[in-house]
């Protein structure tokens, strides 16, 4: 599930070299949109996914146009700080009483939990759904990036925005699309999270966002398979840490692994080094 969020981070970084700190909060918005869709609108589950994805995509595109695009030529740090500003704003704005409020909300489970045993490992149908959904999105993403015109455009812009623009690619549109796509994934992730952990609140995006980001770096930022790989590693290490050590060390272990990997492979496991011409 981290994979979905991680993909968004890696895609955005690959294309504009920006660490979009607000991404984790888009995830949170997705969960809330889903809640709204289920409770107020009574939509069936697939529609909820669509609703959350679309809403998040719209949000991300808006953020990009308002906050990031004007800073394209500014020093990178300005964009980064703005990203964090957006993140904080999303968190606290939705935490205001007038909006969502700072409390935890119960997320209704649209179906019952069913457990099954597969060779000694207990798997719930929820985990199954998460797994399948992730796989489906991954497949869809793979298709988009490698087999469509837009995907080609995305890859072109991530290599060299100026030349891509000269070749007739509408760079701004592609960037917006990338943000939107990443956000849609996060939105889906938000819904899945809500189903899996039936409590949501406006700060829920912070830790998963940070960890997903770490996962993206771990796997090599800018690399899509890397993001997935990183997320898998992180998820596994967390579960194992909770099981064998104490769960309070859980947050730390992920970063420890990250640092260890960075020492050996400074651009992440599947990342490509950016060579500087001397």
């Amino acid at each position: 599930m981290y994979a979905l969020i991680a993909l968004g981070y890696t895609m955005v970084y690959g294309i504009v070299r920006l660490i979009n700190f607000a991404h984790g909060d888009v995830f949170m918005v997705g969960a809330f949109l889903a809640l709204y869709a289920i409770e107020r609108l009574g939509l069936p589950l697939p529609a909820v996914f669509v609703c959350a994805a679309a809403g998040c995509a719209a949000l991300a595109v808006a953020i990009e146009r308002l906050a990031y695009r004007p800073l394209r030529s500014a020093p990178k740090i300005a964009a980064l700080i703005t990203a964090i500003g957006v993140s904080l704003f999303l968190e606290y704005f939705t935490a205001l009483h007038q909006v969502f409020g700072p409390n935890f909300y119960a997320f209704p489970r649209p179906f019952d939990v069913v457990s099954r045993e597969f060779g000694g490992v207990t798997v719930t149908n929820i985990q199954g759904i998460i797994f399948l959904a992730t796989l489906a999105t991954l497949g869809g993403l793979q298709y988009v990036v490698y087999h469509t015109k837009v995907g080609r455009a995305m890859r072109a812009v991530s290599h060299d925005p100026v030349t891509a623009g000269l070749m007739g690619v509408n760079v701004n549109a592609v960037i917006s699309f990338t943000f939107g796509l990443g956000a849609a994934l996060a939105g889906v992730g938000g819904v899945l999270y809500g189903i899996a952990y039936p409590q949501i609140n406006t700060f829920m995006g912070v830790m998963p966002g940070l960890k997903a980001f770490t996962a993206a770096v771990l796997g090599g930022i800018g690399s899509i398979p890397g993001a997935v790989l990183g997320a898998l590693i992180m998820g596994q290490s967390e579960t194992m840490t909770s099981a064998y050590l104490s769960s309070t060390y859980r947050d730390g272990i992920a970063f420890l692994i990250l640092i260890a990997v960075l020492l050996v492979k400074p651009t992440g496991i599947l990342g490509t080094a950016r060579v500087e011409k001397v």
Binding site: R17, I19, A67, P70, L71, A74, P75, I77, A78, A79, I81, T82, I84, G85, V86, S87, L88, F89, E91, Y92, F93, A95, L96, H97, P102, L210, F213, T214, V217, I221, S246, T248, Y249, D251, G252, F255, L256, L258, I259, L262, L263, P266, T267, R274, V278
Partner: protein, 334 residues
């Protein structure tokens, strides 16, 4: 040798002057009740944050090292100083004033040294990474340190762990924060306006070129990083004895981001900007607590990010460009 001593002695006297002036002014205002305790507290906090921010400016503004874990060093300094001070008070009681002050100085120094040692430890593996990855690695160290703080009570119960550390003696009064700030300003200024500062800036500007003119870039990165983190450690010690309560959540990523923001807003590589931004930020943050009507108190955290975003959009290079206040220009000629 006889030529050296008068010069340095003269310098020390020149440093004492602003210290005495500022302390006297503040104490006077306080005693005459022109400043109520709330604002005094804010001024004291601003001084502490300014020290930490000066350190981060050294690391990021001057040496170009993107460190997102500054709060960890702040925390290490805080806990170390607090532990030592509590130990002292526990052993000798609170009655002895002068020895307590001396012990406080010692524990602040210890806090700074602890932070510096940790900085070396962290820096050795990470400072070889490029900017974005360095940021992530330092962020990671920050989180790991916080996790360690949370679990600290399992190996040292006095540290309190996730319940927080209480019972720290209130040692940080106005003279201490002013002294700390003046000292930090002088150290930062004198370092920056010397060949060492120039070496650090050269590293920031162009590592490869810097190495070809004879600067050992890795070694100096470690120096710059360690120095900046030492500032954070001392600031942390002052902080611990100001609020007398430490909790790991005070030293999370948000705190690192806080101080990063101050440095960027003030202008990277500009000391005056850091000072103004530190005070401005704390005053804004705390001042809003007073200015906003009670139902809207949470709007603080909505307004501030918005202000931040707007500022970045309007002036991304920070408040001050290259100009510094006169006392920060660091003349090197007589």
């Amino acid at each position: 040798m006889t030529v050296r001593i008068p010069r340095v002695a003269g310098n020390i006297l020149k440093a004492l002057l602003p210290f005495c002036l500022l302390t006297a002014t503040l104490l006077l205002l306080e005693s005459r009740e022109y400043l109520n305790p709330f604002w005094i507290r804010i001024i004291q906090l601003s001084c502490v944050v300014a020290v930490s921010a000066l350190g981060l400016n050294l690391i990021y503004g001057f040496t170009g090292l993107f460190s997102l874990g500054h709060a960890a060093f702040y925390g290490v300094g805080a806990y170390t100083a607090a532990l030592l001070m509590k130990g002292f008070v526990g052993a000798y009681g609170e009655e002895s004033f002068l020895p307590a002050q001396a012990a406080f100085l010692g524990s602040l120094a210890a806090g700074g040294i602890a932070a510096a040692l940790l900085a070396c430890l962290v820096g050795l593996p990470t400072l070889r990474l490029t900017s974005d990855y360095l940021g992530i690695a330092t962020l990671g160290f920050g989180v790991i340190t916080k996790v360690l703080f949370d679990n600290a009570d399992s190996f040292l119960p006095q540290l309190g762990g996730a319940r927080g550390m209480t019972g720290i003696p209130r040692m940080t009064e106005t003279p201490w924060v002013v002294a700390g700030l003046v000292a930090a300003i002088l150290v930062a200024r004198n370092l920056v306006h010397s060949t060492y500062g120039r070496a650090l800036v050269a590293i920031r500007e162009d590592e490869i070129a810097a190495s070809t003119v004879g600067i050992d870039i890795f070694r100096y990165k470690v120096y710059g990083f360690t120095a900046g983190c030492a500032f954070a450690g001392v600031a942390g010690g002052l902080y611990a004895h100001l609020y007398t309560f430490l909790h790991p959540s005070n030293f999370d990523f948000l705190k690192s981001f806080d101080v990063l923001m101050i440095v960027v807003l003030g202008g990277l590589g500009n000391l005056s900007g850091t000072l103004v931004a530190s005070f401005g930020w704390i005053f804004l943050l705390e001042g809003m607590r007073v200015l906003l009507p009670p139902e809207y108190i949470e709007f603080r955290w909505v307004i501030i990010p918005l202000l931040l975003i707007v500022t970045m959009l309007v002036r991304p290079q920070g408040l001050f460009g290259r100009r510094e206040f006169p006392f920060l220009r660091g003349k090197v000629y007589r």
